[in-house]
Structures are given as C-alpha cells and as structure tokens.
C-alpha cells in the first residue's frame, strides 16, 4: 500500500478492481464504510458479482484477463478529455521529459524486441539526457517528443468501444467510470491477486500507477495504489529477504555477473549501496570490513540465467537438479497451479522438509489420491511449527505497519516457533562446518548469530532496526554513540559505522524502545494516521511519496488534505506525517526538495518506465540511483491470457505477452484451446477459508459455513448443461479434471466478447485431500504460466470445459 488501511476513510472514490475486498479483506470495510458515510463512491470491476459488488455504486463486469484494455480506455478518456491534474503531472512525473527517438511500438511489441529470445533490449525506452546526464525537458505537454505525448498516442487506440470489445465492459460504462473516478478526488485504487495473477500482472498495476499519477492521486491522503496483501505477514516476509530477486528491503540480490560491490553498485547506485553495506554489517558484523567489500563476497551469487522463483524450483525439481526442498508455511500442493505437474516434481526430490502446523497436502503429497506411494522415494520430514498466537514477533500489514504480537499460549507438544527451528538448524549446521577453510563455507561461519534463546524475536528485530557500531557525528552536529540503536534511515552510514538488517525498518528500535509495541489508539491526526500505534516503515510514514501532496513551493495542493508542507519559518518539511523527502531540511528551492518520487532515479513518477541512472556529477563512474524497468514493456499493452477464448483484436499477431516463456516444460504444460475448453475459469479464495485452507479447513466452524468446493455457473450456461445448484459437474482443463457441486447464480454471466459468447465460471481454490474438510483442488485445472517480471501465476484466467457429472456420487 502506498497509503494505509485507516487512510481509506479519506477517499472520495474507490476503484476496486482485482479485489473482492468485502470478502477477502473484510476489515477494509470498516474504513470503506466510513468513507461511504461521507459520500464516497465505490466502483467495482470484477468478472464475478460478489459481496464487494453488492456495496458498490457502479459495478462493471469484466472478462478475466482484460483489465489492461479496460484501464487503458479509462486512461485514454482522462488524457483526451484533459481530466488529468496538469500541475501535478508536470511537476511530479516525467511527462515533460523528451523520449528517446528510437522509442516505438508496432504490431503489439515495443522497440527493442528480440523475436527469437522473447526479450526486450530496453535502451530505446529511456529519455534523452543532456551533457549533465539530466533528462531533457520539453516546454509543454503538447510537445510531440515528450513522454506525455507518447503516452497519449499509445493509449489513443483504446477507445471505449475497443475496451468493450475486448473486456466486455460496456463503452458507456467505461466513460462513466472514468468520469466518476477522475472527477472525485482524492480517489484510491484497491487491488489484490485479481490483478497480479496474470501473465500481465505487473503491467496491470502499471496502469494504476499511470492513472493515479495523471490524476494527482499519489502521495495524497485518500489516494494511492493500494495492494491488499493476502497473508498476515506477507508484507513483512517481502520486506525481509524472502522474495527470490531481493535482499533485505527490496535491494536487488547480486548475480554472478556482479562479483564485487562495485559491480553491483554500477547497476543499483550508491544510495542503495549504503543500505546494502548496513545490511551486510548486520549479517556479518566484524567480518564485514571495507577491505572485503563489507562481506559482499561472502554472499552466494545467483546465476542470472536461472529462475529462482517457486516455478523455477518446481521445474528444477522435475528436471532432477533440485534435491532438497524446505517448505515453510506454504502448501504448494494446494496453491500452486498445474498440481499434477507439481506432484510429479515433488516426487523426484530426494528430500522434502515441511515446516507446518498441520499435516498438509504438501507434507503428505505422496498420499495424493491417484498416486502410488510405493513409487515415490522422497523422504519427507514434517517439522511441527507454531501458530501465530503461540509465538511472539512482528507482523507487517499491507499498510507497512509493523505490529508486535505477544505469545498468547505456548505451542502444543513438540511444536516450535519458526525462529526456534531456524535457530537450532543454523547452530547445528555451523557446528558441522566448524574449522572448515573452504571459501564456500565462509558465509556460514562468518555470519553473526547472537540471538539469545529467551528473546529470539526481539533480538532479531533489534538487528533489523540497526545499531551504531562506531561513534558517528551527523551533519547537524549530533553525535551517535557506539552501541546506540540507530534512529532512522537518515542516520545510516556508508562506511560501516552503522548497521541495519533491513534498512527500511531502521529506527523501529530507535532509542532502545520496541516501537512496534506501541498501542495508542487515539487518532490525533484526525485523518486516521494513528502515529503512536505501532510503527510503519519507513520512518513511521503513513503515506508514501507524500511530498507529492504539495506544489513546487512546498504548499499542499488546494483541495488536498494537508499532510506535510515546507515550513518557511522553521526551514524544514513537517506535518502530520513523516515527510517523504531525502532530507527534511532541504527546501523546495533545492533539487532534493523536489524529489517527490525519491526512490526513482529521476526523482519523479514515471509515466513511461525506461532505463535511467542518476549521477551526482556527470563524470562519476557510479550512479547514485538506477530505475527499475519492467521486462515486458515501458507502458501497459493488452495481451490475452495464455489460454483465451478470443484472439487479440488489437494485434492478432501478438496474442500474448511478448516477454512470456511458456510452456517451459513442454510435456507437462499443455495449452488448451477454446475448441476443447470453451469456458473461462477464474479462481479465488472465499471469505470463509483462507489460502490453501490448511488452517481454516481444520476449523469446524468455518467448514460449517463453506463445507466443500464448488463451481459457480451463469444461469444461461447451467440451462444449457441442464445443471441445477447442488448437482455435480465435472470441470476439466488441458491439465486435469475435478468434480464438484455447481452453484447456479445470477452473479455469474455469459459475457459478450468481440461478437462471441464467453461463459465465465468461478471456483474457489482452497481445498485439498487433507484436513477436516476435503475436496478436489481447483489448481489441478489452472495454468502455471507466469508473469515475466513477478513470476506470479495466471490463476485468474484459463480455459475449461464443464459437463454434468453423470456418475453418482454419494451425498454426505
């Protein structure tokens, strides 16, 4: 979330697309209701009329996988009707930057595409720079060379009629939504897995970024692009080092072609190098010195050619190159798509370690119905983990709020907390390597591991927050004493005199106090900031990019809720929120005072995302900052899901995402066609069960509410199949088949897409063969094609066939 849960109350309009907030983020309703009470409008865009639709003012039914076509038309409407916030766009985005002359788009692909390798050379996507390596800026938005003009030209193809043809959202509704969203500001966007589980997931979200920047909705209270995270601590896990592409705090993990810190810095900039040094100091302590690149060399490097995502792991296991898999708090035998293939891959492992609360489908994958346990040689260890109420530690929510949770009860039996298990394993492994001089063992022997058994979690949090290692005198004269806890990111040093395990969390233990334990629930801000309740990263900031809520002079935009401003008398940025500026003492008259998007090298929001490096001085070898560029394009473009019932009407020659590689394993990843599988299947969770259902399907109260999986069918399709609610239907895809009960509902509809009927059906994915409530796994059907950048699977759209199940199944 750029903003936070409680900030939702400040929005005047909500665009909820790719999220069923009312069912899957039920608590969001507390704040949405507050906004509604003040007159806020809710727009819900979803293929399925669900409980979120029931509270919306506008509901638009969209075909799964057609979001970019729809959103591009909304963006086009905003652009062509001048509904954008011109001042904001000029000041806080790269709209005026002059685009690279070579930039182009033709027949569905952007310039630089390699048709053989399905890869882009991104260099033409950037902007023109002057001798000082600064972007060349146009005078006005009408300059045809500027980014804004290119953007306009790109989206001009997306008329409401084209959007209707592709997405099924009626053209007049596209306009109505664009008008409603653009004319009620601030407006916020809520999304979840409905937007990300596509082969165009990143570009879906790019649409949101562009739309919100055009409308001046980023950095303001009641605005933002807000990802509703699905798991209690998925935010925290990502903040640490759990995403395969990142180290701590979203710093790129080094690959084999970055053997030294300098190599890495060339690609990531000196700003991030400082954060990396602080992280390495936390990891390797005394063993991290300027001489040894602060231990950078101790980090094992990724191969730039390998895929380290969960799909890469499954492929590697299937290929026999991955021997041992340690699954912690995940149940891929329910939640991964193409489960038949996952099962085969796991069957080839030498050993599988599952750290879990329950005996899950993954832990007992060898018992999967239809498989022969005797043929599976994998050794499986099930380590009993502890539930969140059985351990202490922090949980980071979607709004980046880090909250300490206390242990309510002790874990039962032999169960241990994840931290205890990891601690025990690491200590044992290190003992085994004791005395080794082999360089590859050095990271294990040289890492710091000073956590006391009685305070494991808090000791880790202290390390994450960071310490002063040598006395430091700050530019303002303040002296940090060795041994102190660092107070924030601003105090981190590049020379190894401070450490911070996860730089964005720097200061959570500031002053030696665990700020995540704070519980002052009084709303002193009056707008839901609750600054003294727990702590939000970075620096207890509630709204990211909040500098953008002000104009060039540092005054809040008219009509915006004031949250930060430049105080001319005190000569500092201040306000209800922590100002999101590089240095609170550097005013609007300095370059630092104008970097509303300071985490981009450009310092502004990027309507078109091309490569860019910023330098302190033009002659510098190393950049200060380097911007991330999506692999599959600088601007969103509509591509069909891998399995789609219709051709891509925009460019029939380029049906799918050009950067996509699928199938990766031809024999195991068949692609179904509309001839055999005429219906579109979308999947999601239900309100009453969570994710793999490992926990919730062991709660009888929840099983009572939703006792079994189902398939929701539109009435017209059900009539054709002569199926009533409660009848059994067999749903099949190119990858598998399941039999579940049908729910015939007006909430699902047969859609009209480009002149043809497209029936859409829905299934929840929460079931498997273990637990108190068992049922077929929907992911037997789904496709494991993934987004090229995020490696998120396309579980929101694939093709299936549905027939009445003729075999009689005993009713429970």
């Amino acid at each position: 979330m750029t903003n936070g849960w409680a900030d939702l109350q400040n929005a005047k309009v909500f665009l909820i697309e790719g999220s069923n907030a009312a069912e899957n983020h039920v608590m969001s309703m507390r704040w949405i209701r507050k906004a509604q009470q003040k007159g806020a409008k809710i727009i819900h865009v979803d293929p399925r009329f669900n409980r979120t639709s029931s509270i919306a003012d506008i509901y638009a039914r969209i075909r799964p996988g057609a979001d970019i076509a729809f959103l591009s038309a909304v963006i086009n409407h905003v652009l062509s009707n001048r509904l954008y916030d011109e001042e904001y766009v000029k000041l806080h985005t790269n709209a005026l930057f002059v685009a690279n002359e070579a930039f182009g788009f033709d027949e569905g692909v952007f310039s630089g595409y390699d048709h053989e390798k399905h890869k882009y050379d991104q260099s033409s996507w950037g902007v023109q720079v002057d001798a000082a390596k600064k972007p060349v800026k146009a005078k006005s938005l009408d300059d045809p060379r500027c980014v804004f003009a290119k953007l306009k030209a790109h989206f001009a193809r997306y008329t409401p009629e084209v959007a209707e043809q592709v997405s099924g959202v009626p053209a007049r509704q596209v306009v109505e939504i664009a008008e409603t969203f653009a004319k009620n500001r601030p407006g916020t966007i809520l999304y979840a897995l409905g937007m990300t589980q596509h082969t165009v997931g990143i570009q879906n979200i790019r649409c949101y970024g562009i739309l919100q920047m055009l409308l001046g909705n980023i950095g303001v209270a009641g605005g933002g692009v807000n990802a509703l995270r699905g798991e209690p601590n998925v935010q925290g896990a990502c903040d640490m080092s759990v995403l395969n592409g990142y180290m701590f705090g979203y710093l790129n993990y080094p690959s084999h072609n970055e053997p030294t810190l300098k190599d890495w810095t060339r690609n990531n900039g000196t700003f991030r190098q400082k954060m990396t040094v602080n992280g390495l100091k936390a990891w390797f302590g005394e063993n991290a010195t300027p001489e040894n690149d602060f231990g950078f060399g101790l980090l094992p490097k990724k191969s730039a050619k390998k895929d380290y995502s969960v799909y890469g792991m499954i492929d590697a296991a299937y290929a026999g190159t991955l021997k041992l898999l340690w699954v912690n708090g995940q149940n891929p035998m329910v939640t991964n798509p193409n489960l038949g293939y996952v099962h085969e891959a796991l069957s080839k492992l030498d050993m599988l370690v599952v750290q879990e609360l329950w005996d899950t489908e993954t832990a007992s994958f060898w018992q999967r119905p239809g498989s022969d346990p005797k043929a599976i040689q994998t050794e499986v260890l099930l380590l009993p983990g502890a539930y969140f109420m059985e351990k202490e530690g922090t949980i980071s929510g979607s709004g980046r709020m880090v909250q300490w949770r206390y242990q309510a009860v002790k874990p039962p039996g032999q169960a241990k907390t994840d931290l205890e298990i990891l601690d025990a394993v690491f200590r044992r492994v290190r003992k085994l390597y004791e005395g080794s001089t082999d360089p590859k063992d050095a990271p294990i022997l040289k890492g710091t591991w000073g956590y006391a058994p009685g305070s494991l979690a808090e000791d880790v949090l202290k390390e994450i927050s960071g310490r002063v290692l040598r006395d430091v005198t700050l530019p303002d004269g303040k002296v940090l004493k060795a041994g102190d806890y660092v107070g924030g990111i601003g105090q981190l040093q590049a020379d190894g005199s401070t450490s911070s395990g996860v730089w964005i969390y720097a200061g959570i233990f500031g002053g030696g106090k665990n700020l995540s334990k704070r519980r002052d629930s009084a709303d002193k801000s009056g707008i839901g900031f609750y600054k003294d309740f727990a702590w939000s990263w970075p620096g207890n900031m509630k709204i990211l990019y909040n500098r953008a809520s002000c104009d060039a002079s540092g005054k809040p935009w008219p009509n915006a809720i004031p949250i930060v401003a430049w105080d001319e008398t005190e000569k500092k940025w201040k306000g209800k929120d922590t100002p999101d500026v590089p240095d609170p003492l550097k005013g609007p008259d300095t370059p630092e005072g104008q970097r509303a998007f300071r985490m981009n090298a450009e310092g502004v929001g990027r309507l078109i995302a091309g490569p860019f490096k910023s330098y302190k001085a033009p002659a510098d070898e190393l950049p200060v900052d380097v911007s991330y560029v999506p692999k599959d394009g600088p601007i969103p473009e509509h591509y069909e899901p891998v399995e789609s019932p219709v051709p891509n009407v925009l460019h029939p020659a380029q049906q799918n995402n050009p950067a996509l590689k699928y199938p990766r394993v031809k024999a195991k990843q068949p692609i179904g066609t509309a001839k055999d599988f005429p219906y579109v299947l979308m999947t999601s969770s239900v309100s009453e069960h969570w994710c793999a259902g490992s926990t919730t399907r062991n709660v009888p109260w929840l099983n009572e509410l939703v006792p079994e999986p189902m398939c929701e069918l539109p009435e017209a399709l059900a009539a054709k199949l002569t199926v009533k609610t409660g009848d059994r239907v067999k749903v099949s895809s190119a990858r598998g088949a399941v039999t579940v009960k049908a729910v015939v509902t007006k909430r699902m509809q047969v859609m009209r897409i480009a002149g043809q009927d497209v029936p859409v059906v829905w299934m929840p994915y929460n079931w498997g063969f273990k637990g108190l409530s068992t049922g077929p796994s929907t992911n037997d059907l789904t496709i494991d094609a993934v987004d090229p950048g995020a490696s998120t699977q396309e579980t929101k759209a694939c093709l299936v066939n549905v027939v009445r199940a003729e075999e009689t199944v005993a009713r429970r």
């Binding site: 039920v26 309703m29 409980r51 029931s54 509901y59 334990k517 309100s687 509410l705 006792p707 909430r747």
Partner: protein, 714 residues
C-alpha cells in the same frame, strides 16, 4: 430504556463473522453441512438450531436500478427479543425471561422442556437440543452475559489505567456479533435512540431504504431493528404479523382465572343450594342404585390379550423414549415441536370432560337420575387424566425439572395454569374415586376420614391454585373464604348420607379453568393458527366443546360397557344424557359459528374442508341425531350422534394443534420439516389408550363401579 441492536442490511457484506463469533462466544459446536441445493446455495446452516443461534441468509434479487442489475442481499437472523415476547409468556417456569435491559434470556436450570416457546414464537427462534438426552432450549440472548464484562488489570504486562479499563469495558459490553461486525452493519444501543438513528438514515438517503423499520411495531415491537433496501418480504421476513403483542389475549384470559375460580365456585354452590332445595321441595324419591363388581368373566379374553400386547408395546416405547432421548425416539423437530402426544393430550382432556360434567350434573344440579353412571365416569376421568400426565412426562424434555412449576411465578402462562389445574384436578378425581375401593375393602374409618377431610382438601387445593395464578393474598383469601363457606354450609350433617358436593364443585371449577386454558394456550398463535380455529374466545369454545365431547364419550362408554359386559342398555339415562349433550353441543356450535360470523371469518371457515367436517358432521348431523327423544332412545342413533359430536370436537383439537397450523420451521422460516409420528410416539399413545381400556375393564370387574343389574329394569 431497553437496549437494542439495529441491523442495517444495506451495510452487511455477508462475511458471517457474526455467525462464527456467536459460536465462539457461546462455545457452540459446528454443524455438519453440505453445499445447499437450490436457492440457498452457500447459505449454511440452513436454519437456526440449538447449535446455531444466528444465521445469515443470502438472496439474489434482480433489480434494473441496482448496480449490475442485481441486489445481493444479506440478512442476519436471530432472536428478535420482542418487547412482549410470546416465548416468555408461554414459559410455565420463567426459564425464558424478558429482562428490563432488553434481551430475552433463558435459564437452563428452570426449563422443563415443554417447548411451548418453540411453538409460540412467531419468528421461529427457540430451538431444542434434539440430540441431547436432556434437551434444553437454545436461542440468542443478545449476549446478556457480556453486558458487564470484567476488565483485565493489565495488558501485555502493562497495568491498565482506570480510563483504559473503562474503555475496555465500553468496547466489550456489546453483543459478540456487534463487536465483530467489520462493516458497521450492527449497532447496539438504546432502543429509542436507535429508532431515531434508523429514521435519520432513511431520511438522509431518499430511495436507498424502504420506509420501514422492521421490529419497530411488529408484534408490539422488538429489540432487534432492521433496515433494508428491498421490501422485507424479499428478505424472507414475515410481513403478516400483527402490531399487537401476541401475549395480550392470553394475558386477558389468564388474568380472568382467579376471579373465575371464585365466581364459578360460588355459583356452583348457589346452584347446588337451589337444586337441593328444589329436590327437597319435590321430595323426589332418592334413587340410589347399588354398585357392584361385574360378575367375573374370564380375564384373558382375546381383546384383553391384544390390549396387554399393546400395553407392552407402550411400555417399551416409554422406556425407549428415555433411553434414546426425545430427539432420538420421536420425529419431533423445531418445526413440529409438538406432535402426536400433545394432540393426544388435548383430545383426551377434552373427551375426559365427562367426569366433571356428570359430577356436576349429579351432585351440583342434583340430577339423581344419572347417579348410576357417576362412578364409571369418574373412573374414566381418573384413568384418562392420569395417562395424560404420563404422556406429558414422556413429552417433556426435562421432566425431572417438574418441581420448578412449584418454585416459579410466571406471569400469565397458560401452560402453568394448565399444569397446576390438571395436577390438582387429578387429585380431586382421586378423592372422588377414593370411596370405591375403600367401600370394596370395607375400610370404614378411611371412609369417615374421607368424608370429613375431602371438603377441606378442596378448600386447600382451590386456594393454592388461586394463589399460584394470582400471587395475590386478597384473591387467595377470597377463594379460601368462598370454598370454606361452601364446605361448612354443605357439610354432611349427622345422619345424612354423605354427598361429595365440594369435590364435585372443585371438579367442575378446576375443569372449567383448565379446559378453557387449553384454548388459551393457542391465543399466543394467531400468526400460525388458521382463523377458522383461532379466535380470541378460544378459551370459551374449548370449555363449551369439552362438555359436549365429554358427555358424548360417556354415552359411548356406557353403550360400550353394555355391549362388552352384555348388560342392558340403560336407555332412559342415556337418552337423558343425550339430551344434555344435545344442548351442550348446540350451545357450543352456536357459539362457535356465531363467533366466526362476528369476526367475519365464517366465509373463510366454510372454505376449509376440515372445518366443514368438524361442524357439518360433528355439529349439524350430530345435533340432528340427538335432537329428538325418539332418536335418542334408539341406541344406534344415539351412539352415532354421540360419536359424531365427540369426533367433531376431536377433529377440532387436531386441527388446532396440527392441521390448522401454518408451521414455518426455524428462522429464516423457509425450510419447515415434515412430520409423521415415530413408532415410539405411536407406541406410547396407543399403549396408554390400551391401558385405559384394560384397567377400566379390570376395575369394573373387581370394584363396585357399575350399578347392580336390576331385574326390574326395563
């Protein structure tokens, strides 16, 4: 100022947190469910039950004006907490209780398991634990137990300040569902304030809500208030409910009981004094037949063997009832909380009215010509009422809590009235029957004691009854005074032949009360009982009909005795009885039809075949058969007339309890269960009928119940 919960269904998001948190707070088990076929789909469980005190319903309503052309509507169902709840009015032991704070609460320890509350509730809320051997009633109590939570002293090791403790208490002293609701659909507070809030919401958003606050006026108002965007009927709510509180009518009827006891007692005393005087003036020759056991015939006749077998079946059924529990042995459910046994009781009490009717005729009205049938009528009454009690024992879920009837003081509960009245009447019947075995055994002193003390027992019993019904010392004293005066005035003077006049007065008085109160039982249910049967004057028509049915049965029993014991039909007495039965039936039917006509329901009633059968065959035809002395003297005509009269009234009771009822089942009242009595239910009822017949036959053989056959009889 009572507390209430406002449920704004337009704000509900269907998450069912309320359902789960309710189970959590109340520690209720999950039900085994499946995806529901048909319209319900993902709604689960389908209805409230003892394991589910609140349930959310889902509805999909097409509406072109709604976003997406569809309204996906959710409605939480639970106890409505009526301002004047029918369940609490029904409860004979105050287990269900309307608190001044608003919630209607339930006390396990008081409940006898009669399930009258389940039957009475218009919303289908109270449910029984059918799978328990000790089935309690379960329903939402608006988390009455949360109203004053104890705040903890510390949180996470840090002591709480007084302010924090106060805040904690305020945040938690709301029902669990309200606390949990993430969407702001539930608001808890003062009822009047919530009504204002609801009106304000309707006014603030024209067109958003239907202009109706459900619960503001329904059955006199409830402490659950609802707002909706669609008409409440589309949410599946009952929109046919009256605005008058349901207990009003029965309260009036039951409030009349204490003065009625005194009045009826006094009037009967007056009638007796007058008729006695008349008899003395007329110097009627006392006609005192002698009673004797019927000469012993073989006991194990084929009929008796069959009866014994049926009794054994009944005995086993009775054991099975307790071994398997109420739910395990019967087909009763929350829809049919009452079944065969209650039908059986109501019918039996009505037809057993012959005992009090003959006692009244013989002693109070001094119809000495009927004296010879007095003993058999009393025996029939005693057996019938005893077995009614046995049936009740089987029917009660928690019969071992019966003593609560003596400890609690419910306000105007018909069930309480009937329980006590029937109980005391059984003792009066026992007193009435007492001389018969005593005479046989020749226990003179016992007979003397009976003569002396039975009137004073009556004074005690009636006074106790009046006290329990009124809780008023004045009424009790008045009743004690009136009956004591009667006891003294009508005491057996030395040398006089003892006349059990006080027992007869008590029999008539108590029967008048409970026969009518059985009708009052159903005054709570105008929402379920067809208007062809429901009437505000049901107590009166129940009483009147019981007289006709009772006399009809006495005629039938006499005819049966004559047949099986090969005795002469006493035509004169039976014709006389038939004449009285005719008049009783005529009065009843006239009253019944007149009442329907006055209420404008006659046309409706005539469209109901059951009513036509009841009043056509049981009324018109029976009256025709009993109309003339000539016909009454023909045993076949008399028997048929009596059978039709009794049968019509039996049909009336069956219609009132089951056939004329619209039962909707537990909330959301859209999945009523069907009912056919189980083997055990049939077993107990049939066994007890067999026992009545068998024991009657045995008594006739061994005790001086029937008059000696007189040679000179013609």
């Amino acid at each position: 100022m009572s507390k209430a919960t406002l449920i704004d269904t337009t704000k509900c998001i269907g998450c069912r947190s309320c359902q789960v948190t309710c189970k959590q707070w109340k520690d209720l088990p999950a039900e085994k469910t499946q995806l529901q076929p048909g319209r319900k789909g993902i709604q689960n469980p389908t209805t409230l039950s003892a394991k589910t005190l609140t349930v959310l319903t889902y509805g999909e309503i097409e509406d072109a004006k709604a976003p997406g052309g569809l309204r996906y509507v959710f409605a939480k169902r639970q106890c409505m907490h009526c301002e004047e709840p029918a369940c609490a009015a029904a409860c004979p032991v105050t287990a269900l209780h309307k608190t001044k704070e608003g919630p209607v609460t339930y006390d396990d320890s008081k409940c006898i398991g009669c399930r009258y509350c389940v039957w009475a509730c218009p919303f289908g809320i109270p449910t029984a634990e059918w799978d328990s051997l000790a089935p309690k009633i379960r329903k939402c109590d608006m988390c009455h137990d949360r109203l004053s939570p104890a705040a903890p002293d510390a949180r996470n090791g840090a002591a709480l300040t007084d302010e924090e403790r106060k805040r904690f208490a305020a945040a938690h002293s709301v029902p669990a569902c309200v606390k949990q609701c993430p969407a702001g659909a539930l608001t808890y507070g003062d009822r009047e304030e919530l009504l204002r809030e609801a009106r304000a919401r309707i006014a603030a958003s024209p067109g958003k809500y239907v202009d109706h606050i459900y619960g503001e006026k329904e059955v006199g108002g409830t402490n659950m208030l609802y707002l909706s965007a669609v008409p409440f009927s589309e949410l599946g709510f009952r929109t046919d409910l009256q605005t008058e509180p349901l207990p009003r009518r029965s309260a009036v009827a039951l409030g009349a009981v204490p003065p009625a006891v005194i009045g009826v007692g006094a009037a009967l005393g007056g009638v007796y004094a007058l008729s006695k005087r008349k008899a003395e003036v007329a110097k009627e020759e006392e006609h005192h037949p002698e009673f004797a056991p019927v000469p012993a015939k073989k006991v194990w006749t084929p009929a008796n063997v069959v009866l014994a077998a049926l009794m054994a079946f009944g005995g086993l059924s009775f054991l099975a009832r307790f071994a398997l529990g109420l739910g395990g042995s019967t087909n009763l459910s929350d829809t049919y909380a009452w079944g065969l046994w209650i039908v059986f009781d109501l019918v039996w009490i009505a037809v057993a009215a012959g005992a009090f009717a003959t006692a009244g005729l013989i002693y109070v009205c001094q119809r000495k010509d009927l004296y010879s049938i007095g003993r058999s009528a009393v025996l029939m009454g005693l057996l019938s009422y005893s077995f009614v009690t046995v049936t009740l024992l089987a029917d009660l879920g928690l019969p071992w809590h019966f003593y609560q009837l003596g400890l609690q003081a419910p306000h105007h509960s018909a069930m309480f009235e009937v329980s006590w009245c029937v109980g005391l009447y059984v003792t009066v019947l026992a007193f009435e029957f007492f001389p018969i075995p005593v005479e046989k055994l020749g226990l003179k002193r016992a007979l003397e004691a009976w003569k002396r003390w039975s009137p004073w027992y009556v004074v005690f019993a009636v006074s106790l009854f009046v006290y329990l019904m009124s809780r008023s010392v004045a009424y009790t004293a008045a009743a004690a005074a009136v009956f004591a005066v009667l006891a003294v005035a009508f005491r057996t003077k030395p040398g006089e032949k003892p006349v059990p006049i006080l027992l007869a007065v008590a029999a008539v008085t108590l029967s008048t009360m409970h026969q009518s109160s059985l009708g009052s039982l159903f005054l709570l249910m105008p929402d379920k009982l067809d208007p062809a049967w429901w009437s505000p004057v049901m107590p009166v028509y129940f009483f009147l009909s019981s007289v006709a049915a009772g006399l009809g049965l006495v005629v039938l029993v006499e005819l049966w005795i004559a047949k099986v014991f090969e005795r002469k039909v006493r035509v004169a007495q039976l014709a006389a009885l038939g004449k009285i039965a005719f008049w009783a039936l005529l009065v009843y039917e006239a009253f019944r039809v007149g009442d329907l006509a006055v209420r404008g329901q006659l046309g409706h009633a005539l469209s109901r075949p059951l009513f036509l059968a009841e009043v056509g065959l049981g009324g018109v035809v029976a009256l025709a058969l009993l109309a003339t002395d000539g016909l009454r003297r023909k045993p076949a005509a008399l028997g048929l007339g009596a059978a039709l009269a009794t049968g019509g009234i039996v049909l009336n009771r069956v219609s009132v309890v089951v056939l004329g009822m619209t039962l909707r089942g537990s909330a959301p009242q859209d999945a009523p269960a069907r009912y056919f009595p189980s083997v055990v239910e049939w077993g107990v009822s049939i066994g007890l009928i067999a026992a009545t017949i068998f024991l009657f036959g045995m008594a006739v053989r061994t005790l001086p119940v029937l008059p000696k056959e007189e040679a000179e009889q013609h």
